[in-house]
Every structure is written in structure tokens, then in C-alpha cells.
């Protein structure tokens, strides 16, 4: 009769002494291998009487399963220990630097996209016109005759080609896009026209090139209260504050009547302008009801149609919203500047996500 109790003790003892996977394997072979003690005892069973075989087989099976589970436990324990050892040796200086591969979007592009997003939601399409314009489109059609004093305030750049005997110009504002668009489309019209504009002026607060966005609405009944409503939505959305205060003041542009300039309320905290707080006013845009003569010039009957127009400086919007203090830096092409003031290329202004 085999001493099963002793065998079980042997197995438990030898497994408890195992300290690595190799000796564990030896142990497994010793008991469960083809010629292992348990395996041999299994083979011996055939020689026993039915009763003995049955009884011993039961004992042996229990012993075999127990051994297997002990080995499994041990394997896990050893693997765990090995992994811990490995982990403790695998350390890196994670503070070592890596570099970013994204470039950046210019604040002018960002602001134009924001403006387009807001007005697009209000059903304004984006119109464009050339930067070299005819004198007629830039001035005359906009009710600014050759000798109109407003014309001399424009500091126009002239180029060498002519149209209808008048020197072509670099457009001094985006307003000629109004003319081109109204000649092309019949009312109702709702458009904005962002783009480059040029004036022969170069000092601390002027750049010979800058950007404007023009807005135009022509239909049967758009009036000054709609203009007010339109600009209120735009300015509140753009500056991302419902507290924005707005003030309309009478002004004069040859192509609108009545004309207005719009101020927004702000306060200064340190070097920062806070839009939407305080009692100081800052001029932000010019606007008005389209002058009947402008409509006549583009063959729209001013007795049947009317509407409003507005125009504002993109740089000014960008400076106010993003705290950029110097106009001229927009075009100085300093990499450090664009890395500081630029925007992530994966940031698309949106009214359902973020505008900025």
C-alpha cells in the first residue's frame, strides 16, 4: 500500500521550497511528468483489483488535481515576482522634452473665421472682390464723387492701369464688394465681405495694409432697428459676453444715410481691456442705411428696396478680443509672435462648440 499521506506531504514540501520557474518545472516533471511519481502510480492502478483500483484512483486524482493547482498558484506567484523585479528596473526620466509638430493659424484668419461663423448663422453669405479696384467701384458708385472731401481722407494707393480713364486703386475699404455683389445679385441680399484693404498711411497706429469686413443687407423692409439687432447679436457673440453694452452715434459716410458709428462699453484693468464692463466707450464700427444713390448706381430701385451696411476693422476686433496691443505686429512675421498669438489649426470656430 502506497503511503499517500507521505506523498502529499512530499509534494507540498518540495513545491514550497521552489523559488524559480525552472525548479518549479522540475518539480512538475518529478510528480506529473511522464515518469513522474503520480503518473507512475496511475499506471500501476491497472494491476490492482477492482475495488482497490477504484479507491486508489479516486485518491490519486484528488492528489493530482491538488498538485496541479499548487503548481499553478506557484507559477503565478513566481511570474508576479519576476514582473515586479522587471518593473523596478525599467525607469525613465519622463521629464525629458518632446516637441510639438503643429503649426499655427494667424489671428486675422481666426477672427475672420469667427466673424463668418457668426454671420453665417444669421444667413449672410461671404462675398469677395478684388484688391485692385476701379475708381468707380471704390468711390463713385459709393456716392463719393471725385471732389468729395471724404475721398481725400482715404489716402488712396494708385496703380498704373486705368478703367474708363480713371486710375485703378488698391481698394481703400471692402465697400466696393457691395457694388459688385449688388450688380451680380438681385435683392434680397445678405452678405459679408471680409478682405484686405489698403491706405497710404504708415505709423504707430496705421498699417498700409489691413483687413475689414463689410456687411450688407438689402430687401424690402430692413431698417435701422434691424441694423441694431444684427450688430447686437454679432458683437455679443463675438466678444462672448451678454453683458456687452452698445452705443450708436450719428456719423457720416457718403454711402449710408443715416450713418452711425457704434461704440462698445469697456473698462481698463491694468493693461487689459475688459469688454462688457465699465463706463468707457470704444469705437468699433461704422454703419448705416444704404444711401438711395448707391442703390440707383447698381440699378436697384430705392423706392422698392432698402437696407443697411456696416464695416469694421478685423485687426481692431482681434486686438480687442485677444489683447494684442500693436497693430503693426500683425504683419511683422515674427515667429515668436505667431507662436504666442496664433491659434491651433485644429480649432475651427463654431457656435455649437467654441468660437475661440
Amino acid at each position: 500500500m502506497v503511503d499517500f499521506t507521505k506523498l502529499e506531504q512530499d509534494i507540498t514540501n518540495s513545491l514550497s521550497k521552489v523559488t524559480d520557474l525552472e525548479s518549479l518545472n522540475e518539480c512538475r516533471i518529478k510528480y506529473l511528468g511522464k515518469k513522474g511519481e503520480i503518473s507512475l502510480l496511475m499506471k500501476e492502478l491497472a494491476k490492482l483489483s477492482d475495488d482497490d483500483r477504484k479507491r486508489q484512483a479516486e485518491i490519486l486524482n484528488i492528489l493530482k488535481n491538488k498538485t496541479l493547482s499548487l503548481i499553478e498558484e506557484k507559477t503565478e506567484e513566481l511570474n508576479d515576482r519576476n514582473l515586479n523585479e522587471k518593473l523596478s528596473s525599467e525607469t525613465l526620466d519622463v521629464t525629458l522634452p518632446v516637441s510639438s509638430s503643429l503649426g499655427s493659424i494667424h489671428p486675422i484668419t481666426q477672427v475672420i473665421e469667427e466673424v463668418v461663423t457668426i454671420f453665417g448663422d444669421l444667413d449672410f453669405y461671404v462675398a469677395e472682390g478684388p484688391e485692385v479696384e476701379t475708381d468707380y467701384n471704390n468711390f463713385t458708385a459709393l456716392n463719393t464723387s471725385e471732389h468729395h472731401p471724404a475721398r481725400q481722407m482715404h489716402d488712396t494707393f494708385y496703380v498704373e492701369t486705368q478703367t474708363d480713364n480713371m486710375q485703378n486703386v488698391l481698394r481703400t475699404h471692402t465697400s466696393p464688394v457691395q457694388i459688385r455683389s449688388m450688380l451680380e445679385h438681385k435683392p434680397p441680399i445678405r452678405l459679408i465681405a471680409p478682405g484686405k484693404t489698403f491706405r497710404c498711411d504708415n505709423d504707430q497706429t496705421h498699417s498700409p495694409m489691413f483687413h475689414q469686413v463689410e456687411g450688407l443687407v438689402i430687401d424690402k423692409d430692413s431698417n435701422m432697428s434691424h441694423l441694431k439687432g444684427c450688430l447686437e447679436i454679432f458683437l455679443k457673440t463675438f466678444f462672448e459676453t451678454d453683458k456687452l453694452k452698445m452705443r450708436f452715434r450719428p456719423s457720416h459716410f457718403p454711402f449710408t444715410e443715416p450713418s452711425a458709428e457704434v461704440d462698445i462699453g469697456y473698462t481698463k484693468k491694468g493693461n487689459q481691456l475688459i469688454i462688457g464692463e465699465g463706463n468707457d466707450w470704444l469705437e468699433i464700427l461704422g454703419c448705416g442705411m444704404v444711401h438711395p444713390k448707391v442703390l440707383q448706381n447698381v440699378n436697384i430701385d430705392p423706392n422698392s428696396f432698402q437696407g443697411y451696411a456696416f464695416g469694421m476693422g478685423i485687426e481692431r476686433l482681434a486686438m480687442l478680443k485677444y489683447g494684442i496691443s500693436d497693430l503693426r505686429t500683425f504683419f511683422e512675421c515674427d515667429l515668436r509672435w505667431i507662436k504666442h498669438y496664433g491659434f491651433s489649426p485644429l480649432n475651427f470656430p463654431s457656435l455649437i462648440r467654441d468660437l475661440s
Binding site: L102, G103, I105, I108, G120, D123, F124, Y125, P130, E131, V132, T134, H147, P149, Q152, M153, F157, V159, E160, T161, Q167, N168, L170, R190, K196, F198, N202, P208, M209, D219, S222, N223, M224, S225, H226, K228, G229, C230, I233, F248, R249, P250, S251, H252, E257, P258, S259, M289, Q306, F330, F331, C333, D334, L335, R336, I338, K339, G342, P345, L346
Partner: protein, 795 residues
């Protein structure tokens, strides 16, 4: 325009504080640009008298003065050469701030002597450039009195911006009239007795050209004594920053700023014969009061006598008939010059004057006679003498323009409910004669409002006075959309391209649309791009390409110590200066290191394959789906001839270029390292109309794919694209891809040989390829490549 509050109050009776008036000015369209309490800056300055004056023991040029300032006697060290005993002076006590330099006076030891305060010059007070000596006040000035009161500085100086339409507010009277209409007071009528002329003017006036001058009134005043203006007049002019000259000149200036009526005064004894208002003749010249000589052209309006040109009508008088302190007889002019002619003449001759500024904006015709009467009166009062009857040449129209307006239309334009009665009330307060006439309102336009022509103009008057703050706010969201698309296809392409290129590591720059013709000759026909009046010599043309300005920016950044740059610009370039010749383009530039030396990498410079990769990626982004892209060596001349390429889309569209900048150009820009760049021709990107949102069906094979590598010895000029093309063409269904994975040159291959290796992926959609299939395809691939490239396979 500048005026003082006290001057305004001469025309406006008001209970309101000045700050309320200031707010109202802005509200009615006379935008206040600055408000200055002029008294404030001078409030501490007091009148003193020098009691003693002796030389400073340690300094030749300094004097020690004892000054009586009323409340006490103080010691002041003074360096002015004109300080004398008994002199009445302007004393700045300790703590007072000197206006010209904002310096605060402190008690100080000057070369060992205590000095309390300072004696001031006009320059130091900021009232003139006179700095040779300190101010010497009249002897009867009271010691200890306030200098601000004495000088008339105790006032509020208001500066407003007058928009070009509001010519009527270029005089204080007009501003007061507008304020009265807006309800902040009552307009005062200035009373003055007009002395009847006692004789006929010996100088006759003839207008030869009625188009350039419709009326010319003259008043001859004899036996005047031109003196320094009285105190009140001098103070008035000084208060708005004008320099008093002599009574005759000062009076004309005063009337101009007070009533917006430009006048001119001639020394009558220097006029030969009669006054003739005529167009200049070509070749005539004239010396103006500004001491410059101007060459005149036909059409310019001159005031001449029988010998010479005396003045440019509405712009500037001449030196020959200018008044001085010896003048005895004068002719006073009050005329109506054509605004367009005045503007053109002023612009052609580059003369800016207060008269031109007013005439080109339009002058109230009725001010012609009112102004000459008032100024004549002032001359008689101040300079004495006797005046002639007014002589008037030409005509001053008596009739006023009228228009009919509809109250309904005003409401429709303003979006504001307002009754006809209120409209009439506002118009009448502004001096319009407005009354109901059936369904409409009949308006007579006042003579001083040259800017009112139609209903739209009237609507502005109404809302200006009613107040812009009263316009309600209406919703503009319409139920029916006006526009189908917000952005057009090109705009979408540009926006997508910008973001994609920036995501490839490029930073967006915006440079001027101008560039330097000398540096742009490589990129286009610069003589077709000239700007007539450039801002500077190196920005003298419209840019033929985005490249030159970006190259210039590289230079600027390297000067700041930045040695690696990835930049791009999206914008217009031009092929001529007509509106049609504007081209949309994007240029990306990589300069310096692709990988800088870091703790885990060696440095590596950018090469043309970086920009090629970026350009192809953006093209794939902009033109997704099936397309054919081919690449040739034919990039434009500004690229390195051997290291550049052109990308052709669908066999015919030149969509972009990439490569290294031509070294000759890099040299011209003084850039020493290689510059790699790409250009994307936005206008050539095909605008594909989306027919369906469905993507083509996807067929994926479940059979195993096999990869085989082949290497070939080839002539150096064999292109990789030829290998790939040959391989793919063997069986376009089974050969899924073919890629170059190795390239080298070695002497063992031969001098003009290279080795190129290609990795081919084979996969059938019908079965698993067996050894036979693979071997057969492999030999076909080798054969095809050898045949098309004349190379040999390497085993």
C-alpha cells in the same frame, strides 16, 4: 474743430453743465474728440512782482530774485535774461506742474542758493514757442491774482470732429444752433448795429467766370489804423490755438471760426484798378501769404486786379496785397466760391487752409452779406475809419430748396414709430421750414444745410435729434433663408488648406500685398505691377508671388536668432494691376532643420521631400477620392532646376510646385541655407460638385497577401515612378501596392548606376495565391521592370 465753452455760450443760452453739453454734442453727431479744462493746468500759477534782482554768486547767467506773490515774498533763482526789478511775472509755486514738460516744481538748491518756485516763459506754459525770456505782464496786473483768470485760460476747451457733410458746424454759431435744436438751450441772436456805408467803393468788382465764383461782396473801409487786437479778441484766438497777428487779420479769422464765414482783407492801396474774379491762365504764377510761389493752371479761381493775381479764391490771399500795421485803406472780401473748383485747386497746389476746408464743403450763401456786415462793424470798432456801401458782384440766390417727404417713409427707414407732428417739430427746431401738406411734409431747407437733398438725409436729421438710443432693436432671423451656401467652393478650399497646412507644422504669416520690385524680378513682370505712390521704395509693386515676402521674413527671423522656420501664407498674388489679374495661392516654406539635435535624435535638414510630402498631403485633403497625380521636373524658374517638381492632377491641371529655391535667388535674399518650398495654385484646384454623399463600395479580400522584394541595378537617371508603374501594370487586380524601400549608389555598381529596391504586395480577391502563381507573377514583375528601365535585377 476747437472752441471754448465760454465762446459757445455767447451763442447758446443754457442752464446745462458743460459735461451735459459735451455728451449731447456726441449724441447729435458732433463727436467730441477731447475736452480739456484749460484752467486746471494753470490754476496754481499766480501773478508776482520782482522786488529785487541780483546776480547769483556762483553762476553768471542766473539771478536771485525776491518775488512778491501777494500772500508772501519768496526767493526764486531765475535764468531769464529779461528779468528786471519791478517786472510783473507769472510765478509757478512749489508743487505746481509745468505744462510743457509735466515737470513738478520742487523747492531746490540751485548752485547753493535756495529757490522756491519758478518764473515762467510762454513756452513753459505751453501757449507759444516764445522761450527767450519770461512773460512780462502789464504793470497794472494785480499781484497774487490767478494767471488762469487773467489769461482767459479758465475755460473748457472742446474739440469736435466734424464729418464732411456737416459744413454748417465749422463755426461756433452752427454748433450752438444744432445744440439748441437738440434741446440743450436757446440760440442767442447776436445784436450789432450795422453802420450804413457813406460812400461808393472806389474799387469795383467784376466776376468774369460765374461758374467758379457766384458772388463777391466787397466793403471798402478807409482811414483805418491796423493795431494789435484788443485783449478779448486775442484771448479768443489764443484759446483755440491761433496766433493773433493784427486786428484786421484777426477779425477775419474770428468771423470765420465764429460764423463759418471765410473773409479776406486786402490792402486797398496795393490793388491796381478793379478786382477781377477770373480763371487763371496757364503759366501764371502767384506768391501766396504762406510765402510760397504757386504755378497756376487754367480753371483755378483767381482774384486779380488789372495787373496781377491777388489771391486764390477761397483758398489763400496773396503777399502783394497783404495788410500790415501801415495799412490805411482796406477792401474786405466775402464771396461764394465753387466747392468742386476750390477742392480741385487746393489739391492740385497742395494748399491746406481753413478757407479751402470750408469752401470745399460748402458755405451758407446767406452768410456772405451777414459776414461782411459784421466784420465791417468790428473793423470800424477796433480800427476806426469809414466804410463804403457794400458792393456786390454776381448773385446770391434768395430762394431756398424745398422737398416733400413722407413721414411713413421715415418710419420705414428708421424702424422707429414717430408721428408727422414730431417730425415737423424736430425739423423746425433745426431751422427747416416744415409743414404738413396733404399726406406729406413740405420742407424748406435752411441755407446753411448744404448736405440735405432727399428723404434719407431728413431721416438722419430726425433720428439725430430724436436720439439714436431710441431706435428699437429688431430680430433679423428670417424664416426663409436667403442664401444656400455661406462659403463658396474656393473659400472652403482655402480654409481647409490653411488648417491642414498649419497642422503639418507650418505657421501662418500674413505679409504685405506689396513687395520690392528689385527682389521680385525673378517671379513676374514687375513693370506691370507698379504702384504710383508707394509707401516706400522697397514696397513699390504689387507682389507677383507670395515667395519674396516670405523669403524676406526668413531673413528677419534668422536675425532674431531663429534658425528653423516652417511658415506659410495664403493670399493673392498679381499678374497685372487690373482687378481681374489676381491669383489665389498658398506658399509653404521650410527652412533649417527638420529634426534638431535632441537627446534622442541627430539633426537633420529639411529637404525637398518634406515639402513634396506636405504638398501631396494637402492635395489629397482637398481633392479626396480617385484622381491621377503625376510629377514632372518642370517647376517654374525660381526653383532649383534639378531639385524641384511640378504636380499635375488628372493629366492636365497644374496644381502645385515644390522644390528647393533657386540658389541665385537665395543669394539675392542673402539666405545661405537651402530653402525648400511649395506653392499650391488654389484657383486650379478642381471644384468638384458633390453628386452623392455615398463613398464607393469597399471590396476587401479575405485571402492571404504576400510580400515580395526585388532590387535592381539601374542607370542613375531612371525614375522611381517608372519602376512602380511597371510593377503595378503587371496585374492591377492582384498587385495591391508597390513601394520603393531602398536606394543607394556604390562604386561596385558602376559610376552612373544606382540600386533601387521595390516592395510589392500581392493579393487575389478570388483565392490564396500558391507558390506557382507567386513565382510566375514575380518573374513577370522583374521582366517588366527590366524592360521599361533597361536595368537588371540583383539577386
Amino acid at each position: 474743430m476747437k472752441f471754448t465753452y465760454s465762446w459757445l455760450k455767447e451763442h447758446l443760452e443754457t442752464e446745462h453743465q458743460y459735461n451735459e453739453v459735451v455728451d449731447k454734442l456726441t449724441a447729435i453727431g458732433l463727436e467730441v474728440e477731447s475736452v480739456q479744462d484749460t484752467g486746471l493746468a494753470y490754476k496754481d500759477f499766480i501773478v508776482g512782482q520782482v522786488l529785487e534782482e541780483k546776480k547769483h554768486s556762483n553762476a553768471d547767467k542766473l539771478k536771485l530774485c525776491k518775488v512778491d506773490i501777494g500772500r508772501e515774498k519768496v526767493d526764486v533763482v531765475c535764468g531769464a535774461p529779461n528779468v528786471t526789478k519791478g517786472m510783473k511775472v507769472v510765478y509757478a509755486p512749489v508743487g505746481c506742474v509745468i505744462p510743457v514738460n509735466q515737470m513738478k516744481i520742487k523747492a531746490a538748491k540751485i548752485r547753493g542758493v535756495e529757490s522756491y518756485g519758478m518764473l515762467c516763459s510762454e513756452y513753459e506754459l505751453g501757449i507759444s514757442n516764445e522761450n527767450d525770456g519770461i512773460i512780462s505782464l502789464e504793470q497794472d496786473t494785480e499781484v497774487g491774482s490767478s494767471y488762469a483768470d487773467l489769461s482767459g485760460m479758465n475755460d473748457i476747451l472742446i474739440e469736435i470732429g466734424i464729418t464732411p457733410n456737416r459744413q454748417d458746424c465749422l463755426g461756433v454759431l452752427g454748433v450752438a444752433r444744432d445744440l439748441a435744436a437738440a434741446g440743450v438751450g436757446k440760440l442767442k441772436k447776436r445784436e450789432f448795429k450795422s453802420k450804413k456805408g457813406s460812400f461808393e467803393s472806389p474799387i469795383k468788382i467784376e466776376i468774369q467766370d460765374n461758374d467758379i465764383c457766384t458772388a463777391f461782396a466787397g466793403s471798402y473801409i478807409k482811414n483805418v489804423k491796423n493795431v494789435a487786437s484788443p485783449d478779448w479778441l486775442q484771448k479768443k484766438l489764443k484759446s483755440i490755438g491761433l496766433r493773433p497777428i493784427s486786428a484786421l487779420v484777426d477779425i477775419t479769422n474770428y468771423v470765420m471760426f465764429d460764423q463759418n464765414r471765410p473773409l479776406h482783407v486786402y490792402d486797398a492801396d496795393k490793388v491796381k484798378g478793379k478786382i477781377i474774379v477770373r480763371s487763371a491762365q496757364d503759366g501764371e504764377s502767384f506768391k501766396a501769404l504762406d510765402e510760397k510761389t504757386y504755378d497756376l493752371k487754367k480753371g483755378m479761381c483767381t482774384i486779380s486786379d488789372e495787373e496781377k493775381v491777388l489771391g486764390l479764391g477761397g483758398i489763400m490771399g496773396g503777399e502783394s496785397t497783404g495788410c500790415n500795421f501801415d495799412t490805411i485803406n482796406v477792401l474786405l472780401e466775402s464771396a461764394l466760391f465753387d466747392n468742386i473748383n476750390t477742392a480741385r485747386t487746393g489739391r492740385d497746389l497742395s494748399i491746406l487752409s481753413d478757407a479751402r476746408y470750408r469752401f470745399e464743403r460748402g458755405i451758407d450763401p446767406r452768410s456772405t452779406l451777414e459776414g461782411i456786415h459784421y466784420a465791417t462793424q468790428l473793423i470800424l470798432e477796433i480800427c476806426g475809419g469809414e466804410c463804403s456801401e457794400i458792393v456786390l458782384a454776381g448773385q446770391i440766390s434768395e430762394t431756398l430748396n424745398t422737398i416733400h417727404i413722407s413721414g411713413q417713409n421715415i418710419v420705414k427707414r428708421l424702424g422707429l414709430e414717430i408721428t408727422d407732428d414730431e417730425i415737423i417739430l424736430i425739423l423746425n427746431s433745426l431751422g427747416f421750414g416744415a409743414k404738413k401738406s396733404g399726406d406729406s411734409i413740405h420742407c424748406t431747407i435752411p441755407s446753411w444745410r448744404q448736405d440735405i437733398h432727399g428723404e434719407a438725409d431728413i431721416s438722419e436729421e430726425i433720428i439725430r435729434i430724436k436720439g439714436y438710443e431710441n431706435i428699437p432693436t429688431s430680430n433679423i432671423r428670417a424664416i426663409n433663408k436667403v442664401n444656400k451656401d455661406i462659403l463658396n467652393s474656393t473659400q472652403k478650399i482655402i480654409s481647409k488648406a490653411k488648417h491642414f497646412i498649419a497642422s503639418e507644422g507650418y505657421n501662418e504669416f500674413i505679409t504685405f500685398s506689396f513687395s520690392d520690385s528689385k527682389k521680385s524680378i525673378f517671379f513676374g513682370e514687375v513693370e506691370k505691377l507698379k504702384i504710383i505712390n508707394p509707401i516706400s521704395e522697397d514696397l513699390d509693386i504689387l507682389r507677383p508671388s507670395l515667395i519674396p515676402n516670405l523669403l524676406a521674413s526668413i531673413k528677419k527671423n534668422t536675425a532674431r536668432g531663429i534658425d528653423t522656420l516652417s511658415i506659410f501664407e495664403a493670399g493673392s498674388q498679381y499678374s497685372s494691376t487690373t482687378p481681374e489679374d489676381q491669383i489665389n495661392s498658398i506658399c509653404g516654406v521650410k527652412y533649417g532643420l527638420r529634426i534638431s539635435k535632441t537627446w534622442r535624435s541627430e539633426k537633420k535638414e529639411f529637404d525637398i521631400f518634406d515639402v513634396k510630402n506636405d504638398l501631396l498631403n494637402v492635395i489629397n485633403h482637398l481633392v479626396p477620392g480617385n484622381k491621377k497625380i503625376s510629377i514632372s521636373n518642370e517647376a517654374p524658374s525660381w526653383y532649383h532646376p534639378g531639385r524641384s517638381g511640378k504636380i499635375i492632377l488628372n493629366k492636365k491641371i497644374e496644381i502645385g510646385y515644390f522644390g528647393e529655391l533657386h540658389p541665385r535667388i537665395a543669394n539675392k535674399f542673402k539666405i545661405k541655407t537651402r530653402v525648400n518650398l511649395f506653392e499650391l495654385m488654389i484657383d486650379n484646384v478642381p471644384l468638384t460638385e458633390k453628386k452623392t454623399t455615398n463613398k464607393p463600395q469597399l471590396i476587401l479580400s479575405d485571402f492571404q497577401s504576400v510580400t515580395r522584394d526585388f532590387a535592381f541595378t539601374l542607370d542613375k537617371d531612371v525614375k522611381s515612378s517608372d519602376l512602380i508603374k511597371a510593377a503595378l501594370n503587371v496585374d492591377i487586380k492582384i498587385i495591391k501596392s508597390a513601394e520603393i524601400f531602398d536606394l543607394f549608389e556604390d562604386k561596385s555598381l558602376g559610376d552612373d548606376k544606382k540600386s533601387m529596391a521595390i516592395k510589392v504586395v500581392l493579393q487575389s480577391e478570388e483565392k490564396t495565391l500558391d507558390e506557382n502563381d507567386i513565382n510566375s507573377l514575380s518573374s513577370k514583375i522583374v521582366e517588366a521592370i527590366e524592360k521599361s528601365t533597361s536595368g537588371t535585377v540583383r539577386s
